[in-house]
Symmetry: D2
Subunit: 351 residues, 4 copies
Amino acid sequence: MQLAMIGLGRMGANIVRRLMRDGHECVVYDVNQDAVAALVAEGATGADSMADLAAKLEPTRVVWMMVPASLTGAVAEEAAAVLESGDILIDGGNSNYRDDVRRAKALREKGIEYVDIGTSGGVFGLERGYCLMVGGSDSAFAHIEPILRTVAPGVGEVERTPGRSGDLTPEEQGFLHCGPSGAGHFVKMVHNGIEYGIMAALAEGLNLLHNADAGVREAEHSAEIAPLEEPEFYQFPIDTAAVSELWRRGSVISSWLLDLTAAALHENPRLDGLAGRVSDSGEGRWTVKAAVDVGVPVPVLAASLFERFASRDEDQFANQVLSAMRLQFGGHKELPAGDVLEAGGRKSDSA
Amino acid sequence: MQLAMIGLGRMGANIVRRLMRDGHECVVYDVNQDAVAALVAEGATGADSMADLAAKLEPTRVVWMMVPASLTGAVAEEAAAVLESGDILIDGGNSNYRDDVRRAKALREKGIEYVDIGTSGGVFGLERGYCLMVGGSDSAFAHIEPILRTVAPGVGEVERTPGRSGDLTPEEQGFLHCGPSGAGHFVKMVHNGIEYGIMAALAEGLNLLHNADAGVREAEHSAEIAPLEEPEFYQFPIDTAAVSELWRRGSVISSWLLDLTAAALHENPRLDGLAGRVSDSGEGRWTVKAAVDVGVPVPVLAASLFERFASRDEDQFANQVLSAMRLQFGGHKELPAGDVLEAGGRKSDSA
Amino acid sequence: MQLAMIGLGRMGANIVRRLMRDGHECVVYDVNQDAVAALVAEGATGADSMADLAAKLEPTRVVWMMVPASLTGAVAEEAAAVLESGDILIDGGNSNYRDDVRRAKALREKGIEYVDIGTSGGVFGLERGYCLMVGGSDSAFAHIEPILRTVAPGVGEVERTPGRSGDLTPEEQGFLHCGPSGAGHFVKMVHNGIEYGIMAALAEGLNLLHNADAGVREAEHSAEIAPLEEPEFYQFPIDTAAVSELWRRGSVISSWLLDLTAAALHENPRLDGLAGRVSDSGEGRWTVKAAVDVGVPVPVLAASLFERFASRDEDQFANQVLSAMRLQFGGHKELPAGDVLEAGGRKSDSA
Amino acid sequence: MQLAMIGLGRMGANIVRRLMRDGHECVVYDVNQDAVAALVAEGATGADSMADLAAKLEPTRVVWMMVPASLTGAVAEEAAAVLESGDILIDGGNSNYRDDVRRAKALREKGIEYVDIGTSGGVFGLERGYCLMVGGSDSAFAHIEPILRTVAPGVGEVERTPGRSGDLTPEEQGFLHCGPSGAGHFVKMVHNGIEYGIMAALAEGLNLLHNADAGVREAEHSAEIAPLEEPEFYQFPIDTAAVSELWRRGSVISSWLLDLTAAALHENPRLDGLAGRVSDSGEGRWTVKAAVDVGVPVPVLAASLFERFASRDEDQFANQVLSAMRLQFGGHKELPAGDVLEAGGRKSDSA
């Protein structure tokens, strides 16, 4: 079928490629004309304006936006201006599901169907397909199903879940109508929240393995911290690259994120050159806020978010306050990294 | 090669089967004679005592214990009594790595090599093979390598990590010499600690999805908790079984634990009959204690452990203390589930 | 000076009493006419409507609302309708600071000054005074300062902070102009967030003391959980009531919340009759959400909030998911409280 | 009565001073002869060896050790060598209660009573007295009660807990027989664990206040993190020194640790010169490990400990692993502090 794509960054362009490979007809638009030209060279129809894009589509028009979340609002307005009642506007970016709820309501007044699609897959999506979490009306979902089926991974090599039989459901092919407008990005938001938690679990565990030789390194430790009480139990120089490779086979924690970890550690076993200042995008934050709203405890998901904040030193003033309190109640001076406390300094919290 | 297995529970028996399939010769022993008989019927040599077991092996004897962790100490002593200098005693159970360090030291005095093997694979290990994390001397590891190679999953269908080339390393075949005695169970301990974290991330996320319709259910809520502030954003009745199936394909959180989750939710979408009192075995606890010892922050791993404690109401007295404090400072009565606070009761923490 | 109070619940009434004791003139209004009558009997001027209330005040009118947060919006609108440009409307309740920002902006258009006051003090405020966190313009703050000075605790018996000298600042007397509109409730919000954290620290610590005899009770334990490894170290039957009383004197954790804890445990040492379902009001939630917004890690404050959610079984579905996963990968049945696992069941997470 | 003090650091010396003021007779010993001389000048009897110290005491000898935890074992052995059956040896330092359990058992064989005393009070103890948590036999506790009564704060200015009447209990005077050997340090350990939690709650809350102007500073932010979504709600430049002073009066979080915080922030409002590398002594760690042992959830206490680890960059490898994973799945480069991501880089976790 016919579809227009607005936003030809890596993900937008690759979705277009995947659609064209499967015989769909794509009209493409981007502020970057080179990006348009590249896809035109691969068989897409280029558009040089929103109006042009709309003109090149037959009703029912289906327009997929794949732009940075910060631009989605403006682009959606531009697109809505050239669309007609009955047309379908898709947001495949990383929007906050709350914006979907608001936008869908506004567009519904014009008769335009708004569909939010949470899209997972990253750099591998072109080959593997993208996992699609869809929010919107039943009729809109039904209309775009051929597109979704193409963009999604399909069954692939994943074994069928025991107990399932008969026709394959959409979710078994990698796309799902999750609910009304907003539900797609809500599910994607939680997906990313879980991703943060899994990443953190792996990172914390590997950090513990990385320090399993603390008993050997004990002598080098400054007195700044409590001494290792039983150094004989921490004498293991663990090869974390080898261990993460090992766990890929036969272990219960095998997973795609572990695959990536093994690849990263094989490439750069000591992770030289990485400062460990970990960015976060909106989804992890929205997940925690949504959980707080509905009263669902998410200590693991929240902890994984806060670790990222702390990795960027956003805990700095809190830590200074702790040092300041300790100075007050014990007269204990804080020491810069590497320095050594005076005798007895170790008794620092004994107040 | 020849190997004796002590302990013919599910895992011990299946390891024997996997070894025999590959042509290894197995002597088997268990206090349960039926378990012995079953494997003898499949081609194993039965032993009716430790001494018998030792007598049926040629030096260098290799004896693998696969017994509950609480029995390992006693069984190891019995086994050591019939073994000779140069023989190899393997603990494939879920022992605390600290016990390995102690046992290896004691057995070394008798010339017996002690090898600890953390074994992951569960009910699927017979077919898939077991991920093996090995601690012990270089020579012992070299001697038992043919056994490890058979028990491990091998390369299987897992894609090779980008950047790896040449001969396959042991870890690419699912077994690894992690370090000296204790290192195998140390790595297995951390593996299980990570497993707790991943499981918790999935469970928390699914709980949030399960409550994404809180705005619909708002009316039923007792006044016991803060009211939902923007119910319009929590109107999604999410099918968690379908979502967990969906994420198996193309998503960055696809993993074996997600596969299990999808299977469980397909079987029993509302999880009827499960009380949600979650057990924990030692590894999760040991992981947190080890991290505390060496000063590695593990907020996610610890939170996942504490959630399990709380699921069994081990937080009860703490919660009562909180209720008691609140009674003191605000005169706020605590209400049983389902009851409704008097007007103004909601302002409970406003002191 | 002259002030009107809307809302004569415990806090509103006591603030009026405290003001009248110090010679201020109070006009009082509540939908509950008995509450009005009671204060009229003590010397206040009653009002029987908003209009009446406004009529009984001289410009610059100062009106203090002390109503449940859910009613503040409506009451503020009613009050604004009878106020004039230059008048001051105070919200002393537990509003979300975001509502203050919005309301202040709307009222500013009518020339009405909006002042938000976070008020702490609870049942003891009548005697001790209330800690007042004030947001609003400099001129409004200056105008109401005499009232604030009366309502606040004053210096009291609290020792002056070392290094402070000269005239007492407002904060040394228990009231502070924290910033523009919203700043008062923002600071109060964080105050309550901290309160949750302190309460949780005390509750968790006391729970650990309560279980310091776990080694004695070991035999009664079901096999549902990992066995206590060194029961000889957990043989202490601690009297938590006595300990909390003890810590009130000379210890670094002495605090008002500890005083309350000691009182509660003295009254009811086993906390009989308390179910431990802990309510939460909005502030703890808003604190976590604000921290997430600005990227400040608050693992302790968030954990204390999540513990309250879990105390009300809001973790139920997550725990069921965990049980369901465990059933899948190990065939381990979940047991109801009190039951005993079959032999070997303890090895439950060994997959 | 008569008592010997071994270890004349700040706390040991001040306890001696407090005892002498109240008429007790003190024999003092330290490897530092100047410390001995100083107290002799104030009226103590000096000892120049353990044997000398023992000789200068009448049976039943009472010897109080106040030495760094790392030396307690050795000093206890030296002291035991010169004591006789029936004598009492006190450890007032910050020992692990497990060492008390072991030492008490060993000394009991020689007939020596071992008493462990957790001591809180810090630099203010000389004037205020020390909160004393005592473990040991009933008879030993009874024998040393006059000493405890002197060292403890007594009733002081702390109001009696409502509901208490009649004779003052020991805990109302600041000392308590908590249980058998080890119980004193166990209670002190939990006390310090709670202290970590309270300190962290205050520090996190103040950090949030410190960042309440994030909306003003937004422009300066690098694109490394998710943008502030509603900057209009984070426009508060809060004076954290003034706020912490404010909360000392009338607020429910008033506490001694808040007093210290207010003093610290008054002295140094921006906390200049403090790196925020927060040390920890053993108690916080032992608390978490004990909680894990007995299955008590302590998410707040653990989080406060892990924050300290992270403040010293012990999370470094974990953070590098996270950065490495993100590089793998999105091709996102990590940026050093202060740099700016290329357009679209903000979508970093959208995989």
